[in-house]
């Protein structure tokens, strides 16, 4: 059942009753609020002001906005320089281009330099849809996660994305915020706890016993909840963890689940190499080895199509999560 403390939407398992908005919309709203509170926040964009939802900030604070043009490497370097003067720059493009194209500038001038910059990668994942593989970033969390001094946050819905940018503005560290283009169900509420670095239990069949823990990130957390509902109907005890912060990982919440469930499924709209699944596997292998199944993109490039078609085609639908859970429960722990 839905974990009470998560304070999710009362109909969070009924997709027909949930409003749908993209996570990038929550970012756009949150950035304006963050800008209201903190005059040092500035926004930079690489010719994608409207689609990355930087536009409301630009309209309200034109003197604090810099259009960079299609030059993502320059955007990262300029942001580092502005940070050195005391600004908190928020740089925005599609995840494929930033951090996809400007990784070294992010590494050297932001992370190594210890200059707080918030890197917002919108249109992540295959759910971008019709644009096809060139615009579907499914490697971004991996390349950001390996950087020292970097924090990586991947919100599960529009409400959480708004909380994430507001929290990132207070954190003032190099941070990657991963967003999505397409609408997705809004199933968290203003009351749902959110703290960078703290994973939250969203679904828990039984506080003292568990057959499988599903650790998910991004809008696919909702698929994980639906899968948990189905598994529960099959008599399984399930825990779902919303792991919105990929780095630093909430080791305690994940290890508690590993110890209790002894079987883990990770779920992410990202290559299974290098992202959430890898982060969980690195931790669990070191501290409490248990079998893991990885739901995500399996070493492939994307395709054109619509969001739901692609999520199913690449094996990240509800049925795939259910199958992965059944498979991992059948694997021996020894």
């Amino acid at each position: 059942m839905i974990f009470k403390n998560a304070q999710l939407h009362e109909d969070s398992l009924d997709i027909a009753k949930l409003e749908q908005k993209p996570t990038r919309a929550g970012f756009g709203e949150g950035l304006v609020e963050a800008g209201d509170k903190d005059p040092s926040i500035v926004a930079l964009c690489a010719d994608l002001t409207e689609s990355t939802m930087i536009l409301p900030f630009k309209k309200k604070y034109p003197a604090r906005f810099v259009e960079i043009g299609v030059a993502e490497q320059n955007m990262a370097g300029v942001a580092s320089g502005m940070s050195a003067i005391g600004k908190l720059p928020v740089i925005s493009s599609y995840a494929m281009f930033s951090p996809g194209r400007n990784w070294e500038q992010i590494r050297t001038t932001i992370c190594y330099n210890e200059q707080p910059v918030i890197i917002v990668g919108s249109h992540a994942g295959v759910s971008v849809g019709p644009d096809g593989a060139t615009h579907q970033a499914v490697e971004d969390m991996a390349i950001m996660r390996v950087l020292p001094n970097m924090t990586v946050v991947s919100p599960c819905d529009m409400v959480e994305a708004k909380k994430a940018i507001l929290a990132a503005a207070v954190l003032r560290k190099p941070l990657y915020l991963r967003l999505h283009r397409e609408k997705s169900p809004i199933f968290t509420t203003l009351a749902t706890p959110f703290e960078i670095g703290k994973a939250e239990i969203f679904f828990d069949s039984d506080a003292s016993a568990c057959d499988v823990a599903i650790i998910a990130t991004g809008p696919l957390v909702h698929n994980a909840l639906l899968a948990a509902g189905e598994l529960e109907k099959l008599g399984k005890k399930v825990r779902v963890i919303n792991c919105h912060t990929i780095k630093p990982l909430d080791e305690k919440t994940i290890l508690d689940a590993a110890r209790m469930a002894r079987h883990i499924v990770t779920v992410e709209e990202h290559q299974v190499a290098g992202g959430l699944g890898s982060a969980v596997a690195e931790l669990v292998a070191r501290e409490y080895p248990v079998p893991i199944e990885f739901v995500g993109v399996q070493n492939r490039f994307g395709e054109s199509g619509d969001k739901n078609e692609l999520i199913e085609y690449f094996g990240m639908g509800v049925s795939h999560i259910v199958s992965a859970a059944q498979k991992v429960m059948n694997r021996s722990n020894q």
């Binding site: 370097g77 300029v78 320089g81 502005m82 050195a84 003067i85 600004k87 001038t109």
Partner: protein, 295 residues
């Protein structure tokens, strides 16, 4: 217009020679590192830190300071030597260059050493950061200048021109870039590797005010920077024509000395075991005499 008298010029020339000697000594001690670029930029660095910059070695975080961003981080021996002679840290510490535990990393690191505004080494990015600093300072209505020190070789990088375009559009009056135009890069002469000329016309086309100077003539360097400070509504590019390895005859103008310390460079003129001694001897005989117009 002349902004500097002969007495000051001579004082700066003597200081530049001290800095050259420190560069040779620290490279020999390190056993690796770059010789040509640091020696070539000794005069520009001296002019900046001993005459032009608003800065305080005892308070590197001075809010009203001018910002120096070294983009081609591999010439950091000249910056380290200049900062030490200016009083940011003890000259003795220069011997730790590139050694384990040293604040003098092989390429500069902002959080290690006072006076370093940014970590650099990967080419092309420094000017982008300098542009960001200039934009942010202007937002805050500050009058500090940002000095972006760049190399000619890194003009191969796309980001250098991305930043140049942005600086031109923004009309960054508070940005003064100084390019070490020494005509060499690791694999050879710049015009053989990737032709850069006409650099002046290129930067002018991007909306910059360009000044060419003899990078070893103190008066010209000082006058160019003063001229640049006085020009509004454009970013400024001072192309400092320098001689790589300046001051050590067997290193001058040779790309083979780009990435080697004395003792590990080409041996056609001076044997390896005598390179350090010979370089220091030559520098002593040149004391106060590096002035290109006398050549």
């Amino acid at each position: 217009m002349n902004y500097v008298d002969d007495k000051k010029v001579i004082e700066l020339e003597l200081k530049a020679n001290d800095i050259r000697q420190s560069i040779i000594e620290m490279l020999v001690s390190a056993g690796s590192g770059h010789s040509a670029g640091p020696l070539g930029m000794a005069d520009v660095f001296t002019a900046l830190y001993f005459h032009l910059l608003k800065h305080d070695p005892k308070n590197p975080a001075l809010v009203d300071r001018d910002f120096v961003v070294l983009s081609n981080g591999h010439i950091c021996p000249v910056q380290y030597a200049t900062l030490a002679h200016a009083g940011y840290f003890p000259v003795e510490e220069l011997k730790t260059l590139r050694k384990f535990g040293s604040r003098l990393q092989g390429h500069p690191h902002r959080t290690k050493l006072p006076g370093i505004e940014t970590s650099s080494g990967p080419l092309g990015s420094g000017i982008a950061q300098a542009v960001g600093m200039a934009i942010a300072l202007r937002m805050d209505k500050k009058t500090n200048f940002v000095y972006g020190l760049v190399s000619d070789g890194e003009q191969d990088c796309g980001i250098a021109w991305e930043a140049a375009m942005l600086a031109g559009r923004e009309q960054l009056w508070n940005l003064i870039a100084i390019m070490d135009r020494n005509n060499i890069q690791i694999d050879g002469f710049t015009e053989d590797i990737m032709p850069l000329e006409p650099l002046r016309a290129k930067y002018e086309a991007f909306g910059w005010h360009v000044i060419d100077v003899d990078g070893h003539n103190m008066a010209e360097i000082v006058n160019a920077v003063e001229e640049a400070k006085a020009i509004y509504e454009k970013p400024k590019m001072i192309i400092a024509h320098t001689i790589p390895g300046k001051g050590v005859d067997f290193m001058e103008r040779r790309f083979e000395w780009h990435g080697n310390p004395p003792g590990k460079g080409p041996i056609d003129k001076v044997p390896a075991d005598r390179q350090a001694e010979e370089a220091l001897r030559e520098l002593r005989t040149l004391n106060g005499k590096i002035r290109s117009e006398h050549e």
